[in-house]
């Protein structure tokens, strides 16, 4: 069975998962700060993956995190998710630690975070149980919202990479988090599917979600992301409102040329 078509703005709105009545995001509108990172250091042995990151991030905005391999993007995302404990410094999400704010955070990692031997619906049913979500309605809704069919009985291990990424996104948004942390959501996804995924993310941002996406495919987010955060050697070196900002490296440009 083929996955359903992607009609995200409509489907996502139909989910009515705590969506505000009007879009809250706009570059010109003032946004409240809901994530504060202070002097964040993360060391793995003698290697410092994050070297004193300090930043504040506004609510309801789409933040694209860019940088070369080893720049600290994934570590920053894992620290925000509460998976990497800071060696020094602190993270406050709505004034709480990431662990205390876990119900507000949806995390999509580079691996799928799904059981290969179970179908998508079985996976989501299990994860819904972890968040105390009863019944199948919610799981079916999010699977449809990412363009897949909840009736698909095939185990996730037999999905294509694109379908797996979508299902992984469905798992991340299952509990209707206010903050989405996405680690390379477009990797190994064809251009068409990646664009559809971007459309879905835009609709989520417009519905008030705060989104962080680590990606090497920055041009996909041009005109969609509100802010591009440039990381290098474990530090945020620049924050721009365009992918063509001053820190765009040759490496990123080359990858975009290949994708687009």
């Amino acid at each position: 069975m083929l996955p359903c078509a992607w009609n995200h703005p409509l489907q996502y709105t139909h989910l009515s998962i705590g969506v505000p009545s009007k879009p809250t995001n706009s570059v010109s509108e003032p946004a409240t700060t809901n994530i504060i990172v202070r002097d964040l250091v993360k060391q793995f042995g003698r290697f410092a993956a994050l070297r004193g990151v300090t930043a504040e991030f506004a609510a309801g905005r789409f933040h694209a995190i860019l940088g070369d391999n080893g720049a600290g993007k994934t570590t920053l995302l894992r620290a925000l998710a509460g998976l990497a404990h800071p060696t020094r410094g602190e993270i406050l999400i709505f004034g709480k630690s990431p662990q205390a704010a876990c119900r507000e955070i949806g995390y999509m990692a580079h691996p799928s975070l799904l059981y290969d031997e179970m179908s998508g619906m079985e996976n989501l049913r299990y994860f819904a149980g972890l968040y105390g979500i009863a019944g199948d309605k919610r799981s079916e809704g999010v699977i449809r919202s990412v363009g897949l069919d909840p009736e698909l009985a095939r185990p996730v291990g037999q999905y294509s990479q694109g379908m797996r990424q979508r299902m992984s996104l469905a798992r991340a948004i299952l509990h209707d988090p206010k903050i989405l942390l996405l680690d390379e959501p477009f990797s190994n996804v064809d251009v068409h599917s990646a664009r559809e995924m971007v459309t879905l993310l835009r609709s989520m941002r417009d519905a008030g979600k705060t989104i962080f996406a680590v990606t090497h495919q920055a041009l996909l987010l041009e005109g969609v992301a509100d802010e591009f955060i440039w990381m290098q050697a474990g530090q945020i070196v620049d924050r721009t409102d365009s992918v063509h900002g001053p820190r765009l490296s040759t490496a990123v440009n080359t990858q975009q040329a290949e994708v687009l």
């Binding site: 998710a81 509460g82 998976l83 990497a84 404990h85 876990c102 119900r103 955070i105 995390y107 990692a109 691996p111 799928s112 975070l113 799904l114 059981y115 290969d116 031997e117 179970m118 079985e122 299990y126 994860f127 149980g129 972890l130 968040y131 105390g132 798992r171």
Partner: protein, 229 residues
Amino acid sequence: MNEASSSLLSVTFATLKKDIRLEWRSKDALNSMLFFSLLVVVIFSFSFDPLAEESRLIVGGLVWVAFLFAAVVALNQTWARELRNQVLDAYRVSPAPANALFLAKVLGNFIFVIVLEALMTPLFVIFYNLHVLGPAWQLIPLALLGTWALVVNGTFFAAMSLRTRNRELMLPLLLFPISIPAVLGMVAGTTAVLTGDNPAHFYIVLLLTYDVVFTTACLGLFETILHAE
């Protein structure tokens, strides 16, 4: 029942159901355990060819050697499937209680090892010409308490060695020394029942105490293990 207890029970049940479903589909642990136990039964029966009297003296040890090593196979599998696709991270970022995951894993492993014991016991009886001289019903609490002792510590130490490079080697190194009192209780208790020479009550109480102490300690420490990097 308060919300926390209800959450603990519902997540434990959901995780147990998921683990049984995954094992039913892959049969990774059950097949390996069965194969290993069968090897032990057959090879030792060929080597010893014991009389009924001798059997009663050695089978207590043989049975638990087979089940102990077979359990280690299951214990390694139980966390290995959580590492594929880093699924454990999805649990770690959720508000689900850490102990629910631990309890579900312990219960799942307990069920798998008990199923193995139920399948292998008739083979031990046939191959070693066993006739129980003591009160046979005492084998049931010995098996249940002994198996719980193995899986509760095994599940905990398997989780502890999860992120180590040689985790399949680390598990027996950590598990076997700390299981010595329980293994002594299992072997001596089983032999006591088989020979009918001594009462096995002492060993049952020993295993019960061991189970209570280590279950409590593991439950108290598991959250730290789960969230360790």
